[in-house]
């Protein structure tokens, strides 16, 4: 056995050996930056006269659209993962459970792999913007230059911290763990800084403010503090966690499908559960953050608000409802399958509540997806007396949408609580009373949310927006913050009636995790387009007009095709990055293959794959377990 001193020395050596990688990347990016510096130095006068450049074939706008979307999605993952990776590490540190530390390390492994690609796309985007939109970039540089410097410093700090955090993981165990946790904190701090600084540039384009006199730093700070800056910051922060969670879930889902050993199946089943949980956890407050953002947009400029919510972009919100609906259904479906598969014998006890939750979710989705203005033929419109249905038209306005969104969040939260309590029996004397109170509170909350929603039709919009919608959010929030600790207390003394068995989920659970990730990527592509398009023919809304040949909004079908393309490209990129990141695991997998005989029925079949010969058809269609 190696001595502790020897292991420490080995870790230090390993750490130092890896260090040159940083310098390699820095040198690589420095070389890439040289032409930009040269271009900036030599092309000052030319840039004054050139307002736009085009790219033959694809067009400058489309190229920037693809690269910007890829960069944003990659950045969302890179900034979201450290948040829950760090939380996971803290949980492992406090509970002394090694599996959490292992999971946090696995999250960080994915992060390091994606980090360089994110920076690469950031660089490409910068080059393209400088080259293709010199007029706009000159204006933004003039306005924000000091913040560019801050951004560079933050990026350097983030890079250095990430490398120390990742390569120092094994070295900083034991009494050095606290410092490693501190590094994780710094990593997140810098990451949030990296997100909010460029957010200010993009939000300034959408909601510019009058910038008074002052030095460059003062003026940049004034421009940063535009009305949609913080709403976008909060919305993106939460969305990044959701994206990161579901992508990690999809990664775990694929690894689960490919797993050959029992240990791997158990680990990736659990990782998939954690990924789904993180995604759901982030998804619960996300609609509220989105609502706040849209409120600020509306308040900032009625024209922009109507373009988004009532004008030609309004259909995107129906698509958004569909995607969110699939995400809610997918996340809940995964929870419910977790109950029936991981807790043997529990299926019958949970049939009725699952059915009730499913019906409520579907009814809510039906309301959320119902547009205010319906797609109807001439004959249908004549029968309806217009394109608003006299009865179902009431589902088309925000009062209805907010109500069902809150109910869906409540249902999803209760799905999680049900999963948490499954297979356990409360033994505390006060358990019965506590459960009765919880049921009562839940019923009152649901009724209150619905009553406020209906009442919202009969009060001025400002009362609904300022009080009723906020009250609905607070009611749902109250349920979450009271039920979570109460359930934890109840379960503290509960006895386990059925042990949870990991690694028993069917193959469709893995596909469900992948579907959730694809949905969230599509959602971000969709809403990214909506946010960007709401500026219509302005680079900077009301300040700098787009005078290029692309100063028009593409048709929704065209935009939808681009969103799908972006989603596809991103999935390819992420798959490639993860494939590279897990190459080292292949050798381990080969070794584990030899132990395959341990698994009854063999490994799970992939799509289209025939069930293995040992699989019994009678035990369930395409089921690969006992």
């Amino acid at each position: 056995m190696k001595s502790a001193n020897h292991i420490r020395q080995s870790n230090v050596r390993n750490f130092l050996e890896k260090m040159p990688t940083i310098f390699k990347w820095v040198s690589f990016f420095s070389v890439l930056l040289l032409p930009v510096i040269a271009m900036a130095a030599g092309a000052e006068t030319k840039a004054m006269s050139v307002e736009y450049r085009d790219v033959p074939g694809i067009g400058s706008r489309n190229l920037v659209w693809i690269v910007a979307q890829q960069h944003l999605l990659l950045a969302g993952f890179v900034l979201g993962v450290p948040i829950f990776g760090w939380v996971c590490e803290i949980v492992g540190w406090r509970t002394k459970e090694a599996r959490y530390d292992k999971l946090a390390k696995e999250f960080t492994k994915l992060l390091t792999s994606a980090y360089a690609t994110t920076a690469l796309f950031g660089g490409i985007l910068l080059f393209l913007l400088i080259g293709l939109y010199p007029k706009l970039m000159a204006y933004l540089t003039e306005m924000f230059f000091p913040s560019f410097l801050v951004y560079c410093l933050l990026f350097l700090a983030e890079t250095a911290t990430l490398y120390m955090y990742w390569y120092g993981w094994d070295y900083m165990q034991g009494n050095k763990k606290a410092f490693h946790i501190f590094l994780g904190f710094l990593l997140n701090l810098f990451a949030i800084g990296i997100m909010i600084v460029p957010n200010s540039w993009a939000t300034f384009q959408a909601s510019p403010v009058v910038v008074g006199d002052g030095d460059a730093w003062t003026r940049a700070w004034m421009a940063m503090q535009n009305p949609t800056w913080w709403p976008v910051n909060i919305h993106r922060l939460i969305a990044n966690v959701v994206l990161g969670g579901f992508i990690v879930g999809a990664y775990a889902g694929i690894r689960y499908l490919l797993a050959v050993s029992r240990e791997e199946r158990e680990h990736y089943d659990w990782m998939g559960y954690v990924g789904n949980f993180i995604g759901v956890f982030g998804m619960l407050p996300l609609p509220f953050a989105g609502y706040w953002l849209m409120r600020e947009v509306y308040q900032y400029n009625q024209q922009m608000g109507i373009t988004l919510m009532g004008g030609f972009l309004a259909w995107l919100f129906i698509l958004q409802a569909m995607l969110i609906g699939v995400l809610f259904l997918g996340a809940n479906y995964y929870f419910w399958m977790g109950i029936t598969y991981r807790i043997p014998g529990s299926e019958n006890s949970y049939k009725k509540p699952i059915m009730a939750m499913l019906i409520v979710l579907l009814l809510c989705l039906g309301v959320w997806m119902t547009p205010h203005t319906l797609v109807a033929s001439l004959a249908e419109a004549q029968k309806m007396g217009g394109t608003h249905h006299p009865l179902l038209g009431v589902f088309g306005v925000m009062s209805a949408k907010m109500t069902v969104a809150n109910i869906m969040i409540l249902v999803t939260f209760m799905s999680f609580i049900m999963y948490w309590r499954a297979g356990k029996q409360e033994t505390a004397g006060w358990a019965k009373a506590a459960k009765a109170i919880m049921n009562g509170l839940l019923a009152i909350a649901a009724i209150a949310v619905i009553v406020l929603g209906v009442w919202g039709y009969f009060v001025p919009a400002i009362i609904r927006i300022n009080y009723f919608s906020v009250a609905q959010v607070l009611i749902v929030g109250f349920i979450m913050v009271t039920f979570t600790p109460l359930t934890a207390l109840l379960l503290k003394s509960a006895k386990t009636t059925t042990e949870m068995v990991w690694g028993q989920m069917p193959i469709r659970a893995g596909y469900c995790l992948v579907l959730n990730a694809v949905m969230v990527i599509l959602l971000m592509s969709l809403m990214g387009y909506a946010r960007s398009s709401s500026r219509v023919h302005w680079h900077i809304y009301g300040v700098m007009r787009d005078t290029s040949e692309y100063a028009f909004s593409p048709a929704l079908g065209y935009a939808a095709a681009f969103m799908s393309l972006n989603t596809f490209v991103y999935c390819l990129l992420v798959s490639f990055i993860f494939w590279v990141a897990t190459l080292g695991d292949k050798a381990k997998a080969q070794q584990a293959k030899a132990e395959m005989s341990d698994i009854p029925g063999g490994p799970p079949a992939m799509a289209g794959g025939a069930p293995s010969s040992g699989e019994k058809f009678e035990s369930g269609i395409l089921e690969n377990h006992k």
């Binding site: 479906y333 203005t373 306005v397």
Partner: protein, 241 residues
């Protein structure tokens, strides 16, 4: 009939009958796009619930897979399988053909009812005080100029309303003027149907361009009268506005 397949089929048929035939008994018929949406949701629900566990999956899909695989089938069963395997692709082909074949019917409309107003109308505030005299004057003007189409009860059912398709807006509906700021109404009344922007295609609005006949003062007062008469409030960002 028993079993999840029969229950699912009955449920689907029930939902379809309800939204297609029963609901129109109390309200207007639903457009096909909405029926399709609700049916998709109902089908998704059945599939999700039916595949929740190993046993439910077996109950729902087991007979289907066994039927399609032809395992142990003979006589009528075999013929039924053959019929399904032949008829199903034909059904898909027929559906594809009918949805793509040229038709003399106009396509379904995706009309933007509330397009964004032009910049010069954004942020305008009603310059006239919201008092009884102005509201009453507005109601009088409304009665003279607007009520023939929009109705004396502000419900879009004026005597001339039946002559228009789409019909005039119903101001009493909380989904119309209650969602908008006064400046929006000012734009729509002043510029009328011909002032609609490109995004509001196919520009189906018979609203006159009232700026030709009415001064701005009248338009602002009509707006006050409309909101008061329809028992609605304009969208504002300050409670005391």
């Amino acid at each position: 009939m028993k079993g999840p397949i029969a229950s699912g089929a009955i449920l689907l048929v029930g939902v379809f009958v309800f939204i297609k035939y029963l609901l129109p008994l109390v309200t207007a018929p639903l457009p096909a796009s909405l029926i399709y949406l609700y049916m998709t949701l109902a089908f998704s629900g059945i599939m999700l619930y039916g595949t929740m566990s190993a046993s439910s999956l077996e109950s729902l899909m087991g007979p289907v897979f066994r039927f399609l695989s032809g395992e142990g089938q003979s006589g009528t069963g075999k013929m039924a399988r053959l019929a399904v395997l032949v008829l199903f692709p034909l059904l898909v082909g027929w559906q594809t053909y009918t949805s793509l074949a040229p038709s003399d019917l106009p396509p379904g409309e995706n009309r933007t009812i509330h397009p964004a107003p032009p910049g010069e109308f954004v942020g305008l505030a009603n310059p006239y005080q919201n008092n009884e005299a102005n509201i009453n004057m507005g109601k009088g003007l409304y009665a003279a100029y607007c009520s023939p189409c929009h109705g004396a009860n502000y419900d879009g059912k004026g005597p001339a309303a039946k002559g228009f398709n789409p019909p005039p807006a119903n101001f009493a509906d909380p989904g119309t003027i209650a969602q908008l700021q006064e400046s929006y109404l000012f734009w729509r009344i002043k510029k009328g149907g011909v002032g609609l922007p490109v995004e509001a295609m196919p520009w189906k609005s018979a609203m006159p361009r009232w700026e030709v006949e009415l001064p701005d003062e009248f338009i602002w007062k009509i707006i006050m009268g409309e909101y008061d008469g329809a028992h609605q409030s304009p969208r504002t960002w300050e409670e005391d506005d």
